[in-house]
Symmetry: C2
Subunit: 392 residues, 2 copies
């Protein structure tokens, strides 16, 4: 048995190495051929992932062979797809990358092959779109091949341990698909559960993200209220939380490839059915989290007003540009969005982030600078806004 993992990014690469480490031969496919070369030479491209370095050194170019050519995976019997998905400007899912991947798999698909989608997708995607792309690409029919969904549950920084310990679900588009995919996955995922369908598996991941988005929005709303009432939110939160209460931490919003996308999967699906009112909490949560940058921009500008300088001369440093602390990723980063919003409002704002070089920051269209050069320093991961040391 050989397994192909399509997508060697922050989610796919840890999975591919864990499979390789279980003794299974893996062909990893990624459009980035330079990344493939790195992996095959035993070099880890995701520095912030503990444990990954060792696995890539051990298996890269050996049990895990990375390539950009689907033909190199012709001898694989299992295809696992774990590529990122994006929303377009109207928050509709852009399926183009998934379609291309499954069409390519279709071209090399054989009878008896098993395909598992790990990318988090809108409900029913596996049993409708994915099935159709595979059938069209291969001239085979479901039943000739088996199709399942097992949403990735990794989190950059603890992906390897998540794969080895965290509960993971898998569900087939039909019963046989579910069972066959489960039997294979069980070889490398210890904490695996077979659920009744692919769409339930998809839904499990989506509602987990909706829970997070909603509870982050609640924390943000309660934080704004605390501010207005002159209360210490963090003191209140400490004693409000207990076994039956888990108020989350406030923030500049929710970013990355997961949380900001999943509510839209459900909002758009329900809106298609004319059920707009049945997703109003998900929509409100999305709005609140995306609007938090307005709250912080206002706070920063108000703080700037207190300094004895013309507003446009106040230098503001945003200390952290990634969407989450310790992860080098800016997709839907609210800290990046906050920086751009402040610049749009005429603030002299620049960025510092220990994960990014000056050049990388400049390429994002932002100014770069050292925190020490700022009049006001905003640390988004601590929600601390203070006059910089050089002034105090």
């Amino acid at each position: 048995m050989k397994v192909s993992v399509i997508g060697l990014g922050k989610a796919g690469l840890p999975l591919a190495t864990v499979i390789a480490d279980s003794g299974i031969n893996v062909t990893g496919i990624d459009i980035d051929s330079k990344r493939c070369e790195l992996i095959n030479s035993g070099t880890n491209p995701i520095k912030e992932e503990p444990g990954l370095q060792e696995l890539i050194k051990k298996h890269g170019g050996k049990n895990l062979f990375a390539t950009s050519e689907y033909n190199n995976a012709e001898d694989c019997g299992i295809f696992i797809v774990i590529v990122p998905l994006f929303l377009d400007e109207n928050n509709n899912t852009d399926f183009s990358s998934l379609k291309s991947v499954f069409t390519n798999i279709g071209h090399i698909l054989k009878k008896g092959d098993i395909i598992v989608l790990e990318t988090s997708v809108p409900p029913m995607t596996t049993e409708t779109l994915v099935k159709n792309w595979l059938e069209e690409g291969s001239n085979l029919k479901l039943g000739d091949f088996y199709l399942a969904n097992s949403p990735e549950r990794i989190m950059t920084g603890s992906s390897i341990s998540r794969l080895r310990e965290f509960p993971k679900v898998i569900g087939g588009v039909d019963k046989e698909s579910g069972q066959k995919a489960y039997d294979v996955y069980k070889l490398f995922i210890p904490n695996l559960h077979l659920v009744s369908s692919a769409k339930v598996a998809e839904f499990i991941k989506i509602i987990e993200g909706c829970y997070r988005d909603n509870n982050i929005a609640l924390a943000n709303e309660l934080y704004k209220i605390s501010n207005e009432l002159g209360l210490d939110f963090f003191e209140a939160r400490e004693w409000a939380n207990h076994d039956y209460c888990d108020i989350h931490l406030p923030s500049t919003g929710a970013g990355g490839h997961c949380i900001p996308l999943y509510p839209w999967f459900l909002i758009k699906e329900m809106e298609k059915k004319g059920k707009n009112l049945d997703v109003k909490l998900l929509r409100t949560s999305r709005e609140i989290n995306d609007e938090m940058i307005e709250f912080w921009a206002k706070k920063i500008i108000q703080e700037g007003d207190k300094l004895k300088k013309p507003n446009s001369k106040v230098k503001v440093c945003i200390n952290g540009i990634s969407y989450r602390k310790g992860v080098k990723e800016v997709y839907h980063s609210r800290n990046l969005a906050l920086t751009k919003l402040l610049a749009d409002k005429g603030v002299d704002v620049f960025v510092y982030d220990e994960l990014f070089t000056k050049d990388e920051v400049l390429k994002l269209g932002l100014k770069w600078g050292n925190p020490e050069e700022a009049d006001l320093l905003f640390e988004p991961f601590k929600l601390v806004l203070r006059v910089s040391n050089h002034d105090s």
Copy 2:
């Protein structure tokens, strides 16, 4: 030292007995003189509270003396207020009962007395309204007396253990008040924490309720979405939940004296400040939970349509009228509201509840009947809707 507990209801009576059981002499005050007689004769009026019977038998009429006369509490040095609070038809807090209680306490207040409010109230109520009522009623000034807030955290059915184990906070309107109230409370509340102010103490209880209301609303919204997509919500929830995800259970809404009130405390306070947009999540959650009876009414009527009878001849039984299973209380009960809604829609609906007699149900303006007489049976605490046995 003698303690007076004002309000001997589902929250106050367990507290009064726990204080009495710690060896302190308690004068309980309640407007219901019959209830006072029962307590003094050692009879427990709250059957659904484990452990309360023993405490009342032991202390009722002895270490705990219940009365309707404030004058009987003249010799007390500590006054604890724990009476229910209501919203008016516009969801504004009706403070009339609290005002009356604190004015009455004012009349017997002496220098050095400590007053603690346990009723959950809108933020700043203790330091503004309560302080003023006491000062006006007593002709004393804060500093002559001490004032604090320690929100009750009981839950009917586990109130005694909550008082003895659960974390409880207390905060003063000034530093001295907080410390003095803390020192007294520590004599009978083992897991007690002094927080920085009365308003933080108030806020802690409010945001705990907001967390519950919001997460119940999320569960309800996800439940409706599951229904629309033909998915088993409960299967998905089982595997979505883990250490970092706690999707709640769906329901007919949120009832009782706590959860439905607290979001309004914040909504109304913020709206007064023109900050309507900063409470939109709380408001949306309230709407969703209150509207759930529309969802269930529709489902019940749709199920009735499947029976071979004219719609007005379909007998529907709502099996459970209280706001929560096992608690004899209908304040803001959504099951009661659902029953009335169905009746308004012309459905032949009646109620059965093991906690209520036929007469008690009739007095609520509802029809009473046995579940066996129904064509359709709805069990709101299980969310089970089924054709009744006599038909199957």
